[in-house]
């Protein structure tokens, strides 16, 4: 292999337990998003758009769909003979095998993989964030500051700062403190979980961390505080733009609904920064003679014969005549049969809403206060029959 200046490692092993039924059968990064994407598309497309040609994807939890989806990476032009996308599950060595203990341990276990490319820098990403970003600018910043670690940060509203890992930095951007979900935050710069390390520094830190038996082997909890204590050069890189962690049902729902706004902050229609995805070749969507479509995002291959409003309709969805879908997210190949009604709900892939059944709350008043109704993959909804 030729030497690479930098490579990316994408952490995609998360279960996403807070997404409930949606991730029962698949890893969180494989969850469908925004009518035609899967969550991991955003990170992978960012890599490609930033001219990164080598990406290691660390998988652990139910990786089948994710593996199939990524394939050899051709959907993102990452099918390269020199680099490209590599799926890195936990493996067995002479001393037996073990699961990845934490985010840092996952990278530690793959030191050999990284060394084949002999990179100067390494970019650590999460596979469960929705954002468009050019990492090249961040790398330039990292080099300019002669940093050992650069963390991408986002200004969040002060009242929400308690939910994030908060970075305290001086005017130049040099980090002085890191506090995980602080009760009394002294800064509103939240870590986005995107790191650029100088590889030599990270390798050393990972090896040290491995010797500590009580360590959680986590970047935020262990590696960063250790580097800070050692007096290494940690800088924060301010990102401006749309970024969402879609770890919970509510945040996943809101991030989808953000796309329906008049001018969404996340630009999908920008030719300069395309979001690639690995989608089946389907015909254009068909909108029937009696259909009503209002404020919706609709994927390919859909057949909409009923009424859809304020909703995200993924590829291959069927909405029968007389059915009604409002404020909902229908994941790929959902079928909503005649007379059925779906309000403020998320239906999993290949889910079915039986004829004349009702999902979610019908009353339009304060629907936004109601809990989101979720139907898992291949689920069949038979409740609330109304004739």
């Amino acid at each position: 292999m030729f030497k690479k200046e930098w490579i990316a490692m994408l952490l995609a092993g998360g279960q996403g337990s807070r997404l409930g039924a949606l991730t029962r059968n698949i890893a969180k990064p494989a969850l469908a998003f925004g009518a035609k994407y899967r969550i991991i598309d955003f990170s992978l497309s960012n890599c490609v758009n930033s001219n990164i040609d080598t990406v290691g994807v660390l998988t652990q939890y139910k990786p089948y769909l994710l593996n199939t989806y990524i394939g050899m990476g051709s959907a993102w032009d990452l099918d390269l003979s020199d680099g490209g996308v590599h799926i890195l599950p936990p493996f067995v060595g002479e001393e037996g095998g073990r699961w990845y203990k934490g985010t840092a341990n996952a990278i530690y276990e793959n030191i050999d993989f990284i060394e084949t490319f002999d990179p100067e820098y390494i970019l650590i990403l999460s596979g469960d964030h929705i954002y468009n970003m050019n990492y090249e600018a961040m790398l330039a910043y990292h080099k300019e500051k002669h940093a050992d670690l650069t963390i991408s940060v986002l200004e969040v509203p002060w009242e929400e700062a308690t939910r994030f890992g908060i970075i305290t930095a001086d005017l130049e951007g040099k980090i002085s403190r890191f506090s995980e979900k602080p009760k009394k935050p002294d800064s509103n710069l939240a870590s986005m979980g995107i790191y650029i390390f100088t590889w030599a520094v990270l390798k050393e830190a990972l090896k040290q961390e491995e010797t500590k038996p009580k360590s959680e082997n986590d970047f935020g909890k262990n590696i960063m505080p250790t580097l800070l204590a050692e007096g290494k050069r940690l800088f924060c890189y301010r990102f401006q733009g749309y970024w969402r962690d879609v770890g919970t049902l509510e945040s996943y729902y809101e991030a989808n609904m953000d796309l329906l706004k008049d001018r969404p902050e996340l630009k999908l229609y920008d030719d300069g920064h395309r979001v690639f995805s690995n989608s089946a070749i389907l015909p254009p969507q068909y909108i029937g003679p009696h259909a009503k479509v209002c404020n919706c995002l609709v994927g390919n291959g859909c057949r909409i014969l009923g009424e859809i409003k304020n909703s995200i309709i993924s590829s291959g969805v069927y909405v029968a005549e007389g059915a009604k879908v409002e404020d909902s997210i229908l994941l790929p190949n959902t079928r909503v049969f005649e007379g059925a009604q779906v309000y403020r709900a998320i239906t999993g892939e290949k889910a079915v809403v039986k004829p004349h059944c009702v999902m979610g709350s019908q009353s339009s008043e304060d629907r936004s206060q109601c809990a989101i109704t979720v139907l898992g993959d291949k689920g069949i909804w038979t409740k609330g029959f109304q004739n």
Binding site: K36, S277, L282, P283, I287, H290
Partner: protein, 371 residues
């Protein structure tokens, strides 16, 4: 089906190609929102298990090559077999309706000679069809035919004047190849521009006609009707053919029928096309869309009915698009009204413009008309 190779000829022309815009050969004619006509024969071959396909290029090669790329979408970027780009001959001024000119095959005879396949399937690009060649080949073998012509039983329309009809005996063996001229309204078997034969037989024909290589293979076959066993395979299901602007429009509108959509695009053997990673289509709060086929990457804020909308089209608020075909990356300005119009790629129509064609004579919008 490793013993079969396919050849698709893109040289076929319609009477008046300018009527559909000067910029594309028929093979690259945009259809049904995201397809090109070449997608139909190519996908049919691939879906029938054929892994080696030669494409005989038209004189204007760019739109075809641009669409095919390495053949990745059809799984034809392969070490063994795959997509073969074959040079077409200069179309010159030979009579129209020639789709399998022997000269094209003569020029690419290496492709046929180097193959070890037993059979060759030839197809042109003027038919909208989803056909299983496996079935056709099975019948070809069963009947021990030398050549099998794929045909469709249909009632002839005035537009079919130039097509070739196959007259058969009771067992489906071709007796005579005749022109459809003057047979409007009659039920007949139309040659669907697809045929199956042994590779060696095709080589013999191509070599045998070296001196008059400018003729069409069908003209050559006429002489063999009695000596060779020429069978017919009746294509079940939908088949649409494009001769002119009006028939292009009619075939396009037929794509709004759910049954036809299902057969062509949603079954197990679905038609494949180049994927372009467009974002999903956004329908704004003011949109009203009825009976329309809409591709990805569009932003629809206006009214659309009985129409085909290609990728990346923007239809602004209060615009009204009825019975139209709007091709890739067009923009229809606020309050503009379009009826019975075909709008070619990348056209920007300013706000407040009225363009009305007649249903029986749709209009092709010329960019200059909008200025």
């Amino acid at each position: 089906m490793d013993k079969i190779i396919g050849i698709i000829t893109c040289n076929y022309r319609i009477d008046n190609p300018e009527a559909l815009g000067r910029s594309y050969p028929l093979a690259a004619l945009p259809f049904a929102g995201r397809y090109h006509l070449i997608d139909f024969p190519l996908s049919n071959m691939v879906n029938s298990g054929i892994r080696t396909v030669g494409i005989i290029l038209p004189s204007m090669i760019r739109p075809v090559l641009n669409h095919l790329g390495s053949g990745k979408e059809w799984n034809l970027d392969r070490k063994t077999g795959g997509l073969f780009i074959l040079q077409g001959t200069d179309p010159g001024i030979y009579p129209r309706n020639h789709d399998f000119v022997l000269r094209d095959l003569q020029k690419n005879i290496d492709f046929l000679e180097n193959s070890i396949a037993e059979y060759v399937i030839l197809s042109n690009c003027s038919n909208i069809v989803n056909v299983d060649f496996k079935e056709a080949v099975r019948q070809h073998r069963q009947t021990e035919a030398d050549i099998t012509l794929l045909v469709k039983e249909m009632v002839l329309t005035p537009e079919d004047e130039q097509v070739l009809l196959v007259e058969t005996d009771r067992r489906g063996r071709a007796q005579k190849l005749v022109k459809a001229q003057g047979k409007t309204g009659q039920k007949a078997l139309r040659f669907a521009n697809m045929l199956i034969m042994k590779r060696n037989l095709l080589l013999d024909i191509v070599r045998g006609y070296q001196d008059i290589e400018y003729i069409n293979i069908m003209d050559a076959l006429e002489k063999y009707v009695s000596s060779l066993k020429i069978g017919t395979y009746r294509i079940p299901g939908y088949i649409g053919r494009i001769y002119s602007r009006q028939s292009f429009f009619q075939r396009s509108m037929e794509m709004l029928q759910p049954e036809i959509q299902k057969e062509l695009f949603l079954g197990e053997r679905r038609i494949l096309t180049r994927s372009r990673d467009c974002p999903p289509t956004k329908y704004g709060p003011t949109s009203a869309v009825h009976n329309a086929l809409v591709s990805s990457g569009c932003i629809i804020d206006g009214n659309v009915s009985e129409s085909i909308i290609f990728r990346g089209v923007a239809i602004e608020e209060a615009a009204r698009v009825t019975n139209c075909i709007i091709m890739k990356s067009c923009k229809v300005g606020r309050g503009t009204v379009l009826e019975n119009v075909i709008v070619p790629n990348n056209t920007i129509i300013q706000p407040g413009i009225f363009v009305r064609g007649q249903p029986e004579a749709v209009m092709m919008l010329n960019i200059n008309q909008t200025e």
